[in-house]
Amino acid sequence: MKKHLLLSVVILFALVLTSCGPKSTPADEEVCTADAYGCAKIEAGQTIKIGMSSPMTGGYADFGIDAENSGLLAVADAGEFEGFSYELVAEDDEGGAEGGAAVANKLAADTTVVAMAGPLFSGATAAGIPIYDEAGIPMLSPSATNPPLTEMGSAVFNRVPFTDEAQGAAAADYMYNTLGFTKIAVLHDGETYGKGLATIAKEEFEAFGGEVSTFEGITVGEADYTPILTTISADSPEAIYFGGYNAEAAVLTNQMKSLGLEDAVFFGCDGTFGADFLTNAGDNAEGTYHATPKDPPASEGKEKFDAEYLAAYGVAPVVLSPFSYNSYDCVTALITKLEEVAVLGSDDALYVPRGAYAAAVRGLTDYTGISGTYTCDEVGECNVEGPQFWVVVDGEFVYAE
């Protein structure tokens, strides 16, 4: 009897105590039961995990390494929230659909993963969306540009880069009107992103009145593309537009030179930009064009980020891949929105209502990141301006006029 009395006194005391603390209403339960997806519960002592899904091995590894670098800085800058620290869980998806689905399943199984700052590549994104959708994990991709991704009806997927509609049109415009090309060949790597972009560029170029002499796919991962380049050279186009990634782009530029395509310009995209391309293409990289998001306006945040990035990794941002700023912004935006919806429970655990969180991310309005100001529309397009074209001069990327 006495024991029971003692216990009830303790419980009462505890209740009174907790009700005095900040945000201590039993609202956590209310919030969670009202939410369509329920809550992510982060126990005291655990970290709030933000996922990232990008290629970190293989030919496109620089993209993933760059995104992780930026994400780690964003997490460090975010500090702590209600005594919880953030953790970036960067997983390797090798850029492909299989890897994208595997990473999605792995992260969805971890209940303390609340958000996904990615995936980076469109193929992995397309495979991951249904899984994140089911788990109620809001996504904010720094670089998945394939247009149909936002047409899948997903409630959780959002992205910040310009779409390939914009990039394809801009590239076609640049080639036809600025560089004055009238006959080009268009190649793609047959993947979600590359083929989508190449198709748009081809259609836009033809709409301007230009001629596309060849429209062909290559198979990824090969070391010899001389046969296809030979066939292309028979029509002697002024440029080769390529939708794909830097590993294949480097092989193509290297092999163009001995096949009668010495004078043809290699015109890449935001998938071919990066230090890896320069290393692998060497001297042959001279005069090739690539794309990135528009260079961010000068700001305090940018300066700080540039300095931090250089100090931590020994290279400047936007050297390894075009998406350093976008990646930082995505992680920071996800954290900002998380802090708006997360509730500290009476048991000292942090509750994140997943549905409300996804809605909050979709509702990003006039959010100022380093790359610019983001406002997401109803399907999750929060596009920054773009693209910016670059040309390689003396072994370095410089702005193309």
Partner: protein, 369 residues
């Protein structure tokens, strides 16, 4: 031949396949001829310079395929198994060659005229020779230990078991290379005398067609190595022992041949050829990484089957043919380049329909069926 009678299918079914198979083969052949007719007679889109270029690139890649295919064929000849880790042996050769060139590049030999002269440019022939010897030696050692560790303990096991062991060894070697050398793509630094992209120019139909130095070098060296191998197999005691073991292990042992040693030697020879192929790959294509052996390995296996597995000249012919089909096929048939492997495999199927044991037949393994 006893085996065949035991597994003979019911008469009806056999007749059915006997009729349907050639019909299918003839249909596919007619389709291929029709496409060729369209491209060469009707469209007539490409001039001789295009075909020459395609032929050159086909022969170069074909030479590399041939060297790797010989490795499959030799091992199949003596062990009746497919060494699926063979592509990885080639990858090891590519890495070795790379490190040799990096080393020779870092040795400075300043001369009066050029204070920045490095060893690989001062003595290109010597550095290439060292790279090939080192690449072949390390790859041969890899082949030797591969057999010792992954296959020898399974010599008496059913035939499926070493196959699985081979796939396991392949995955192990890939991941070991990934961990040791990191996943980044690397680039060969060729000696200046053999720089990539340069070559002799021949004027064909008013256009300069480049005959790349690296390509010519690769092709000639692969031919020399193949001739050397044929000499070893046909004229030396070692080759005689290999042929004897391939025919009948037990009888060979009774005749005083050390079967284990002969099998080891076979792996050493096939490893050395794959190592040479790896260095050639690096010299000609430049870029390589831990996964570089996979695709050529699969292609070379196909080439070995195409020429008749177990048959050394067959592997050479199959490799050259596969390289040329891959290079010329999509253009000649006016089929998308993404389907070049499909083109290659359709032609493989057609050839196997009319010649079920490959173009030149399974010479070494004949007695075992």
């Amino acid at each position: 031949m006893n085996l065949n009678e035991k597994t003979k299918p019911p008469l009806k079914q056999r007749n059915y396949f006997k009729i349907i198979r050639p019909i299918f083969g003839v249909l596919v052949t007619l389709f291929l001829i029709w496409r060729l007719y369209l491209v060469f007679i009707v469209q007539h889109q490409y001039g001789p310079e295009t075909w020459t270029r395609l032929l050159i690139s086909g022969l170069i890649i074909g030479g590399v395929y041939s060297l790797i295919a010989i490795g499959y064929t030799l091992v199949y000849g003596v062990l009746l198994m497919i060494n699926f880790a063979h592509g990885e042996v080639m990858m090891i050769g590519a890495f070795t060659g790379f490190f040799v060139f990096e080393a020779t590049k870092s040795i400075s030999v300043p001369s009066a005229g050029n204070p920045e002269l490095v060893f690989s440019n001062a003595y290109p022939a010597l550095s290439i020779l060292i790279a090939f010897i080192a690449g072949m030696a390390i790859a041969a050692a890899a082949g030797y230990f591969l057999e010792k560790i992954a296959y020898r303990p399974l010599r008496k096991a059913p035939r499926l078991i070493p196959l699985i062991s081979a796939i396991g060894a392949s995955i192990f070697l890939q991941n070991a290379a990934l961990l040791i050398f990191s996943p980044q793509t690397r680039n060969y630094t060729n000696p200046e005398a053999l720089s990539r992209g340069d070559g002799w120019k021949i004027l064909i139909n008013g256009t300069d067609v480049t005959l790349p130095y690296t390509g010519v070098f690769t092709f000639i060296l692969s031919i020399l190595l193949m001739v050397g191998l044929l000499f070893v197999v046909q004229k030396t005691r070692l080759g005689k022992a290999m042929r004897a073991v391939a025919m009948d292990k037990d009888t060979a042992a009774l005749m005083g041949i050390d079967v284990n040693q002969t099998i080891s030697n076979t792996f050493i020879i096939s490893g050395a050829l794959a190592g040479a192929a790896g260095v050639m790959w690096g010299l000609h294509n430049g870029m390589f990484h831990y996964f570089v052996g996979f695709l050529p390995g699969i292609k070379a296996f196909t080439a070995a089957v195409l020429g008749g597995i177990g048959n050394i000249p067959g592997a050479m012919l199959g490799g050259m043919l596969l390289g040329m089909i891959e290079s010329i096929g999509p253009t000649a048939l006016d089929i998308s380049y993404q389907l070049k492997d499909v083109v290659a495999f359709v032609i493989l199927i057609v050839i196997l329909i009319f010649r079920p044991s490959g173009i030149l037949g399974e010479v070494l393994a004949e007695e075992k069926v």
